[in-house]
Amino acid sequence: MSHLALRERLARVGYVADESLAMALHLALALGRPLLLEGPAGVGKTEIAKALAEVQETRLIRLQCYEGLDTSHAIYEWNYQRQLLAIRAEGASEEALFSDKYLLKRPLLEAISQDVAPVLLIDEIDRADEEFEAYLLEILSEFQISIPELGTVKAKARPVVVLTANGTRDLSDALRRRCLYSYVDYPDRETELAILRKRAPGLEPQLAAQIVGVVQGLRREDLEKKPGIAEMLDWAAALAGLGINDLADDRGAVQATLVCLLKTAADRDAAPVEVMDRIIGKVA
């Protein structure tokens, strides 16, 4: 399967990928290497993993990283309560206690103990501590986890690993080297229009063009948080729900729906009626 075929199939499940992203995904599948996605918030980095799982017809296993994430939340933990109950109730032996029955699999262990290779999404890896990143490196290269009481669990099928990062902190060179890399930027007008058509097929073509034009215009303004694709879709849904067919018609309502796009007070002040009039005037 070439990267263009993969792009086709992603489009069929509702994800519009540009060519370089499709190539990165294709290589990640072909070479069996993890893929690191970077880019501003709200450009659909997480969605990629979901779409990929759907294309591959496999499970998506997601590990959301956060500061202080530790092994018991990322890899495995013993179910102590059940172990205690077993001791009290039936006087279970040690071998019985440390068996699969009492093992709580967390995302990483879950991912490598699947029969069919799943898609493992490690979301916002830059939020996790450096120690965890180092541990992750080991798992990503060996695809095995050792549990002292049970022995080593080897991956039956190598998961497809997708990592996302937002730039909260710098990732280590070692991790970057081990991964394929793709920078996901805000889409251009045509791509964004294609996304909007995919996600909201019922929308008037003229309104869709206006929505995309305004969002693209807003991204060029000096905003703290530029509206992402998710915000754009929200806004489109809001406008459709209000029955607005032309942005220039009901300026008051349009201004009120900007809460979908602009998420800080400073940004709301940065896009007063005059600025919006100018942007909408250009696209209307």
Binding site: S2, E19, M23, H26, L31, E38, G39, R176
Partner: protein
């Protein structure tokens, strides 16, 4: 397509050359990458240059910076395109020994061809120019931006950075009394141990620890770059850059008649681009000052986020102000209310017999926790014990 030199041994050799070419242009790549790249080409339509470019980009680029540079580098190597020094006879790449400061020749303004020539002694076939396929497109722009970069030459930058680091440490090294949970720590966290032991039938199996957390002070620096400060601007900007580099949470602003946030520009890894961005921001550099107005603007806008009970505000200025002294006093009072300490570093204070008689300065005095001399890097470095007391 590329003219292959006779000594090129085929695709593996060319790929090794390409990886070396990327390495020379600042991408960190190991020897293993060449094989990986060939494997990647095996997985795509390698005869399609577009697909090959996308594949190699996904594989070889480690970060966003490289992502932007890659297309030019790719074109320069495989298509003899890009703004390359006129390569006449050969685009073949030799793997050259480490020459880490790649951009140096351009930055220093000396002729890049000379530097390239040095690396290929006795080559004799005129291939010295552009042998490594380096891009030289950025050169003309860099020359235009020399002005501010000269304010931050490497020696003074380093010295100022050192001074800034020491100062930052003197302020930051403040530990809390209270103990909080920690991965490693000297004390056992009995409360958590007990709570966790419930799950194990009262056996304290997991031992948790606690430690005194670092409670670093944040530094917010406001640097005056008006006309009267031109002489010191060089030192102060380097000092502020040092503060920013050392402390990931530090925050910096420039002001003359307006206030501009420069943290992002200073934090730019590409120090050249940082200088370029700074020059743009310092428009009006060397003009008049309105300290009160600028500080009020700060208190109105950024202060809400920048200041808290653990912030030290450092104002670097001589206190000569065209605005009303009252406005300055008012602004400082507002800042003082929100920040832990307000320190004024004054270059004039280093002079003998200086007294803060300028109207602005005398209005400011009541709101300052410290008013310290600073006109050279040495003077800045000597402030460390004073800062430790803050």
């Amino acid at each position: 397509m590329t003219r292959f030199p006779s000594r090129a041994q085929g695709v593996a050799d060319r790929m090794a050359g390409f990886v070396a070419h990327l390495r020379m242009n600042g991408l960190k790549l190991g020897p293993g990458e060449t094989a990986e790249a060939l494997a990647a080409l095996g997985a795509v339509e390698a005869t399609d240059p577009g697909a090959a470019r996308l594949a190699l980009r996904a594989l070889l680029v480690p970060d966003a910076e490289g992502w932007r540079k890659f297309d030019d580098l790719f074109g320069a190597y495989w298509f003899n395109a890009g703004k390359q020094r006129a390569a006449t006879s050969s685009a073949h790449v030799r793997v050259q020994s480490a020459r880490p400061t790649l951009w140096r020749p351009h930055l220093d303004g000396e002729d890049g061809a000379e530097a390239a020539g040095e690396t290929t002694p006795g080559d004799g076939d005129g291939a010295a120019e552009g042998v490594d396929g380096r891009l030289i497109a950025t050169r003309t722009e860099n020359l235009r931006k020399r002005d501010l970069r000269e304010l931050m030459d490497e020696d003074s930058l380093r010295a100022a950075e050192r001074a800034a680091r020491d100062l930052a440490r003197a302020i930051r090294d403040q530990r809390s009394r209270r103990r909080k949970r920690a991965l490693r720590g000297p004390a056992l966290d009995l409360r958590r141990i007990q709570r966790a032991s419930l799950a194990r039938g009262g056996e304290p199996i997991d031992l948790f620890r606690k430690a005194r957390p670092d409670r670093p002070m944040r530094i917010v620096a406001l640097c005056d770059v008006s006309g009267s400060m031109t002489v010191y601007a060089r030192v102060f900007l380097a000092f502020v850059k040092g503060l920013i580099d050392v402390d990931t949470k530090a925050d910096a602003y420039l002001f003359h008649t307006r206030l501009i946030r420069i943290t992002a520009a200073l934090r730019d890894h590409d120090s050249l681009r940082a200088a370029g961005r700074l020059s743009l921001m310092a428009e009006g550099f060397g003009g008049g000052t309105d300290i009160g107005g600028a500080l009020n603007a700060f208190a109105d806008t950024y202060a809400a986020q920048a200041l808290n009970g653990r912030t030290v505000v450092i104002v670097l200025s001589d206190g000569y102000c065209t605005g009303a002294p009252k406005a300055l006093a008012g602004a400082l009072a507002r800042i003082k209310r929100k920040a832990r300490r307000v320190v004024w570093l004054n270059p004039l204070l280093g002079w003998r017999d200086y007294a803060p008689v300028a109207a602005g300065m005398s209005a400011a005095m009541p709101y300052l926790d410290a008013h310290l001399p600073a006109n050279t890097i040495e003077a800045l470095a000597a402030l460390e014990p004073q800062f430790a007391k803050l």
